[in-house]
Symmetry: C2
Subunit: 230 residues, 2 copies
Amino acid sequence: MNQDVKPRAVVLVSGGLDSATCLAMARAQGFDCYALSFDYGQRHMAELEAAQQVARALGAVDHKVVHLNLRDIGGSALTDQSIDVPTTPTCGIPVTYVPARNTVFLSLALGWSEVIGAQDIFIGVNAVDYSGYPDCRPEFIKSFEQTANLATKAGVEGKSFHIHAPLIDLTKAQIIQAGVRLGVDYGLTVSCYSADEKGRACGECDSCRLRAEGFITAGVSDPTPYLKGA
Amino acid sequence: MNQDVKPRAVVLVSGGLDSATCLAMARAQGFDCYALSFDYGQRHMAELEAAQQVARALGAVDHKVVHLNLRDIGGSALTDQSIDVPTTPTCGIPVTYVPARNTVFLSLALGWSEVIGAQDIFIGVNAVDYSGYPDCRPEFIKSFEQTANLATKAGVEGKSFHIHAPLIDLTKAQIIQAGVRLGVDYGLTVSCYSADEKGRACGECDSCRLRAEGFITAGVSDPTPYLKGA
């Protein structure tokens, strides 16, 4: 196969389970994958180290970490030390919601896409997040795609951008099953909102609960190192 | 007048002529203005110092500088030292276009708006830029507004965001005339793409040419310290 003819895609890779699966799917669809992560003032750096390992393991041709301090803006338990990460289920939009995060991340993915001549961007949002985070909904993704085509030189020149959200209708268990088929090593990924510096998961936050339940439902053994619970 | 009842607006302030005028207009419309600037790897810092002075002079209640290295992404003469800033007029989209810049900046303005409870964002894009930069067009602004309302907790809760682009249909001369009426001190602003460390303008780049012609057409004396030309 001629490597030169592969189209390029920018894939948002957080170091978590969903984006790792998304990267594996983009590769399986025949894209040369350019992984993009953000150092945005997360509580822990284990996530970014996981992103590097995931990008390497899944054959990304490049991996870029953009520094962007969302702590400057504040407003979320994930970036603001004064807001606690909840350990019991909450109703409505959770405090771990980072204002406009996916809009910011997709915008930067769009910028990088233009520079490298990619017209495809992959983001691992899914149906479970959809219930809580507004920027994980299909109507948001569709609207961002329209904005992207109006925003860019490439769009003006008639090259359409496509925002792929291949996990959007999948349950956590279906995501895990798809990833296992594509050879994703979930032992490399970190989903926990409060992981320690070694990437060990708290076992108590929303994200840990969803992940643990996903492995059980999928019938796949869970490689996650939990500190307690889950 | 009761300060407490004023609605809040986030205003993108670059340190240039257009955004200073935009800030003056937002204040004149009765908003408490939260100025937002970006340290995005510009060639010179004079622009950011000008942004601080402009925000202070025009009564912004807060001014935030978000650090975001667009050099990580590259692709523009404004952020990539290997691409020269042109000194003669060019056709089509200029090399000073920064991929997806306004999308990125508006996304971060959206995030801050949510945190401070603002529903109004002002951006100083105008008709002159419109001819060259895709993300200065009215259809882009409208599309971003729709995306913003789908992207956010506030949008889901029925609080609409409004993206104001009050300069969009104005010529440079009309912008200057409006700013002068609102008391903008254009001596504080820096428009040049290649200003020196003291904020002195090259007098030769597209931005300098547009600015100098604007003052002449407006019949307003030009306070810009040009190094040559203009």
